[in-house]
């Protein structure tokens, strides 16, 4: 039982005064001392260890009255009240007040039925405000996420630029894009074109013509297996960086992606590194005069199979 304020304090020989304050240890939250107002002789600080017994209105000490009087006077300036200091959960441990402090409940709040119902109703009304917004907001944010593919042919240069067989040559081109309400803008892109020898061509097409279909399954274009020009999308199928045609110490001339070091041979086959699939061939046409046209496509990176996203 914790002592109560205003309790009488009794020594071994006689009553000595009244309990006026208690002192709490800020770390353990335990009472450490009692402050006793000695009848007409100031205040003394008594350690909890000397308390023998606590009853409803009496604190019995193990000390004699002369021993209490011999204790140093209580120094108020060494302490702050619990209101002026931040000690979490202190009130959970303390029951020193002499009683509860009460305020009356307003008449209108007495005997109100269906409190839980009203609390739930608040949440229901909240849902009625929030739910109808969820779908429009989602659709609002989703507006630009999906757009149809552009299957127009783009002129990107002349094959006269290609100096050697089975060597990657970068063709840079500009592509017009139209985003939402914005004026049409031009972005720079690139593809890699290969003049392939029959052996490499065989590795790219594996003896079959390559068909490109649109979302409905209709064929847009077919790359014939015996046309020696192959175009690879400039986007690395690993995580979408731009790869280069480089000399490799061991593997010779290869396509190398500087991001995560995926390495592909001239036919686009993965030789080393983390890439999950070969380079992505694009639809290509070469005119009699050597002008190259492609359909610009991009595929999702990081997947084994091709998923077109542009």
């Amino acid at each position: 039982m914790q002592p109560k304020l205003k309790s009488r304090v009794r020594c071994e020989d006689q009553d000595i005064g009244v309990l006026t304050k208690v002192i709490v240890d800020p770390l353990s939250h335990e009472l450490s001392h009692l402050v006793v107002s000695v009848n007409g002789a100031g205040e003394r600080q008594v350690p909890m260890g000397t308390v023998q017994n606590v009853t409803d209105d009496l604190v019995q000490l193990r000390l004699s009255s002369s021993e209490v009087m011999a204790l140093p006077p209580f120094k108020r300036d060494d302490y702050v009240t619990t209101h002026e200091v931040e000690i979490p959960h202190l009130e959970d441990h303390l029951h020193v007040t002499s009683g509860e402090v009460l305020v009356p409940i307003p008449d209108l709040e007495k005997n109100v039925k269906r409190r839980t119902f009203f609390a739930s109703l608040t949440h229901v009304v909240g849902l009625f405000i929030g739910l109808p917004l969820a779908f429009p907001v989602l659709k609002y944010l989703m507006k630009p996420m999906y757009s149809p593919f552009d299957n127009n042919w783009l002129k990107i240069g002349n094959v006269g630029k290609i100096k050697a067989d089975d060597a990657g040559t970068q063709f840079k081109f500009k592509r017009k894009i139209k985003e939402a309400y914005l004026p049409e803008a031009e972005i720079e892109k690139n593809v890699w074109i290969l003049k392939a020898t029959p052996a490499v061509l065989e590795k790219v097409y594996q003896g079959k013509d390559m068909e490109f279909r649109d979302a409905t399954g209709k064929t847009i274009w077919t790359n014939k297996k015996d046309i020696p020009y192959v175009a690879f999308s400039g986007k690395c199928p690993h995580l979408g960086c731009g790869f280069k045609w480089r000399q490799h110490k061991v593997l010779g001339q290869v396509f190398l992606c500087p991001c995560h070091l995926s390495i592909y041979d001239a036919s686009g086959k993965v030789l080393d590194g983390p890439a999950p699939r070969p380079l992505d061939p694009l639809p290509i046409q070469v005119s009699a005069s050597g002008e190259v046209q492609i359909i610009d496509m991009e595929f999702k990176a990081g997947t084994k199979s091709q998923t077109r996203i542009v």
């Binding site: 240890d25 630009p144 985003e179 972005i187 999950p276």
Partner: protein, 370 residues
């Protein structure tokens, strides 16, 4: 309050104003509550990181607002407006560089703060919720870094975003939706820039302020954990209040961090690369240094192929974060002394060593690319 000194008979006008506000708001009590918090075992330099993080965030907010006076978040003006800030606006180079290095300081201090809490065993009961909210704050800081990186719209920005969003695309089921949602389309463009801008300057700051407030509230509710060694008597002898000793250490920590950021901004100011285009040219894409270890991880043969990539980009980092979140619920031993928690100590050393090794090997790898 009986121990406050008696006011002079003729209060000055300032005292009158202060008393007027105090009477209505309770300023003195509020200040007392804020400052008189017992720190078990006394103030320490190890405890400065939380306050330092708050300071860094405030400075990021201030410099960020200032940058927005000139910055234009459109694909055709973002690069030019950033260059204008760097080269034409008085002290623009300094504010932008401060903001850039401030983000690095944020990541470093988040790391230090989390390590300290981990090593001190301060995530244990009753502080589990502080730890969880802290992890969410860690995610927000990473989100700040990721979204802010795109805004200058140079090649570095464009490619870091391209790869980052492709990684997100690998999330099971919702990956494609998330990636398109963030990009506002199939490839990075104006919609991506708009989205990243709004997330960077509105969504994340609001989330961070809310969660940081909750973090502090929970911290104050549970109280500081204190050192992991020492008897209650020893702790009691060394205990002091938050003010003045801990606040002194905190303000010194803030001043040191401020000086470091200023020095870095001065000697290594931000320099942009070419304007962003989907053609990388000769640029070798690389993320910011604190993501280098993840970047290097994805180069490993064991994380090759579709499944390997899912492992490296999603499963391993996801499992690590899940483990951190579950930590206070798995590790229920009340022992907080790190020298009596061998698994925790070894785990921390291994993670730090792995991050270090991967970061260094990513740096070494650079030489072989040209």
């Amino acid at each position: 309050m009986s121990h406050t000194p008696p006011t002079s008979p003729q209060p000055t006008i300032i005292e009158k104003v202060f008393d007027f506000v105090d009477e209505r708001v309770g300023l003195k009590l509020l200040a007392a509550k804020m400052l008189n918090e017992p720190v078990p075992g006394g103030s320490r330099w190890a405890y400065v990181f939380g306050s330092v993080l708050l300071f860094i965030f405030i400075m990021q907010a201030v410099t960020g607002v200032l940058l927005m006076f000139y910055y234009v978040p459109t694909a055709d003006h973002a690069y030019a407006s950033t260059q204008y800030i760097l080269h034409d606006v008085d002290y623009g180079w300094f504010l932008l560089s401060y903001h850039f290095w401030g983000s690095t300081a944020m990541v470093v201090c988040v790391f230090a703060h989390m390590s300290q809490v981990f090593l001190w065993g301060a995530y244990k009961k009753p502080r589990e919720l502080i730890w969880l909210v802290g992890l969410a704050l860690f995610g927000i800081v990473m989100g700040f870094g990721f979204t802010g990186y795109l805004l200058p719209w140079d090649q570095r920005a464009y490619w870091a975003t391209t790869v980052g969003v492709e990684i997100m695309d690998k999330t099971p089921l919702v990956g494609d939706f998330m990636a398109r949602f963030l990009k506002g389309g199939a490839t990075p463009g104006q919609m991506t820039l708009s989205r990243f801008f709004v997330i960077h300057v509105m969504v994340l700051p609001a989330a961070l302020m809310g969660l940081a407030g909750l973090h502090l509230f929970l911290f104050r509710s549970a109280g500081p954990a204190g050192p992991f060694r020492g008897t209650p008597e020893e702790l009691k002898v060394k205990t002091d209040y938050f003010f003045p000793r801990q606040i002194w250490k905190d303000i010194v920590g803030m001043a040191v961090v401020f000086a470091c950021i200023c020095a870095l901004a001065f000697w290594e100011p931000v320099v942009l690369l070419e304007e962003a285009t989907p053609d990388p040219g000769d640029y070798h894409p690389e993320p910011e240094w604190y993501f280098l270890f993840l970047f290097q991880l994805l180069r490993l043969k064991m994380f090759s192929g579709e499944f390997g990539q899912f492992l490296g980009a999603m499963a391993v980092p996801g499992a690590f974060m899940a483990l951190l979140a579950a930590l206070p619920f798995i590790d229920r031993d009340p022992e907080r002394n790190i020298f009596k928690r061998p698994i925790a100590l070894i785990g921390w050393v291994v993670v730090m060593a792995a991050i270090l090794i991967f970061t260094v090997s990513a740096i070494i790898n650079r030489e072989f690319l040209d």
